[in-house]
């Protein structure tokens, strides 16, 4: 099984691809709406593709498949994450922290927990709920391991965080976790919520 070392999803599918998806799944929503709501699907596809390689179809085909299997809502792209990971990977989805959510009053602590996990376990990829209002409204991105085996690249075509480096051992200078009020980072004041990885073995 070939695995990709390349980052999956660094370039967001074009509006044309979105339109093709829209038509293929016969969605009541427009292509633009699908594209604005598919971050959970996109991040999980990225994590799967990075981990499982060729076994995962291209994004448009992936959406069609999960839609046909009733694992995604065709109107608003709500994804049945855990079932999708179970179906497409050689493992299962584990959501961290086990306690529920990362500390919502302390952004730094949250990123430190993520950093410690990545430094110790070095998964090929994780998805990260980079912000959430506690009522289900939020944004999901993925972090994918670099060839150096230790640092990660942030995959988030919706923001300037896309393509930036995340170094579990240097959170101070990593774009996403930086505690600087850098207004280029749309998450500068948002604490991370949860993160998922694929635990091997069924």
């Amino acid at each position: 099984m070939a695995k990709f070392d390349a980052y999956q999803g660094a370039i967001e599918p074009s509006l044309i691809t979105a339109t093709n998806i829209d038509n293929a799944i016969n969605s009541p929503s427009s292509a633009e709406v699908l594209r604005s709501k598919w971050c959970v699907a996109f991040a999980n596809w990225g994590m799967l593709k990075r981990t499982m390689g060729d076994k995962i179809p291209d994004f448009d085909k992936f959406i069609k498949e999960v839609a046909d299997n009733d694992l995604i809502n065709k109107e608003n792209m709500t994804l049945n994450t855990s079932d999708v990971i179970k179906k497409y990977s050689d493992g299962k989805m584990v959501r961290l922290p086990e306690s529920g959510t990362l500390p919502q009053g302390d952004r730094q602590s949250g990123y430190k927990i993520i950093g410690d996990f990545l430094a110790e376990n070095r998964p090929e990829a994780i998805t990260l709920r980079v912000k959430d209002d506690g009522k289900g409204k939020g944004h999901t991105i993925s972090l994918q391991r670099n060839p150096d085996g230790k640092t990660y690249t942030v995959i988030d075509p919706a923001s300037k965080a896309n393509g930036t480096k995340f170094d579990p051992e240097n959170l101070k200078d990593s774009f996403l976790s930086k505690e600087s009020p850098d207004t280029r980072n749309p998450y500068w004041d948002k604490p991370p919520y949860t993160f998922d990885y694929i635990k091997k073995g069924k």
């Binding site: 996109f42 994804l79 009053g105 730094q108 600087s180 009020p181 850098d182 207004t183």
Partner: protein
């Protein structure tokens, strides 16, 4: 100095002080054991560029601290998730009137008088205004005419409508904007507005106007 500050629960450099590093940023938070005089010592650190007040009851400068901090190399001031009244906020930001500052505000009550106070910082470079800030169109439009050097603005979840948006055209030097989730302006309209700004000033504007949202079950 770093050891002293960490022993009093100041947060150094975001994720803690590493030996031989420069002391570049200091956070004062709810666990900090603050003493008068600390701020004067903090602001005297030559490599200090960033100061943040997070969830703390400490939210004003004494005259001496204000003087020391105005002479510092601080380029970023953050005030996050705390209760602060307009006089306290004005006192805090006015310390940096002569600085090319990034002012990042989040999770605080923010009103027209705060905007008015900030308009005195003529060298202000970047400002993040809190989500859902309670500011009027008139007040914001006045503000927009007084900040010739402002390079970037974040204004999310605003109740301002199209007129308020059009006042952002008055800032002559913007390079980036973050304008997400305005109640009365659609993302399409925002996109059109960005083009309007770019056309007016004949340069590209880095714009974060989309707020992607995804759900799962």
């Amino acid at each position: 100095m770093a050891k002293y500050l960490e022993s009093k629960n100041y947060v150094i450099n975001g994720y803690g002080y590493k030996k031989n590093a420069h002391l570049e940023s200091v956070d004062i938070n709810e666990k900090t054991d603050y003493s008068d005089g600390d701020l004067i010592r903090i602001c005297s650190q030559p490599n200090l560029t960033s100061l943040a007040f997070k969830r703390t009851k400490v939210r004003s400068f004494s005259a001496d601290a204000s003087f020391a901090c105005s002479k510092s190399n601080i380029a970023e001031l953050a005030v996050i998730n705390l209760t602060i009244n307009k006089n306290e906020l004005c006192n805090l930001v006015s310390t940096f009137t002569n600085k090319q500052l990034t002012l990042a505000l989040s999770g605080i009550v923010f009103t027209n008088s705060d905007l008015e106070c900030i308009s005195k910082l003529k060298l202000l470079k970047y400002i993040a205004i809190p989500d859902r800030a309670n500011i009027s169109e008139e007040s914001f439009c006045n503000f927009s005419k007084q900040m010739p050097q402002l390079l970037g603005i974040q204004l999310n979840n605003s109740t301002l409508a199209t007129n308020g948006l059009n006042c952002i055209l008055n800032f002559p030097s913007l390079r980036r904007v973050t304008l997400q989730n305005w109640n009365s302006v659609s993302e399409d309209e925002m996109g059109e507005w960005v083009k309007k700004y770019e056309k007016k000033y004949n340069r590209k504007l880095e714009a974060q106007i989309i707020d992607p949202v995804g759900y799962e079950r």
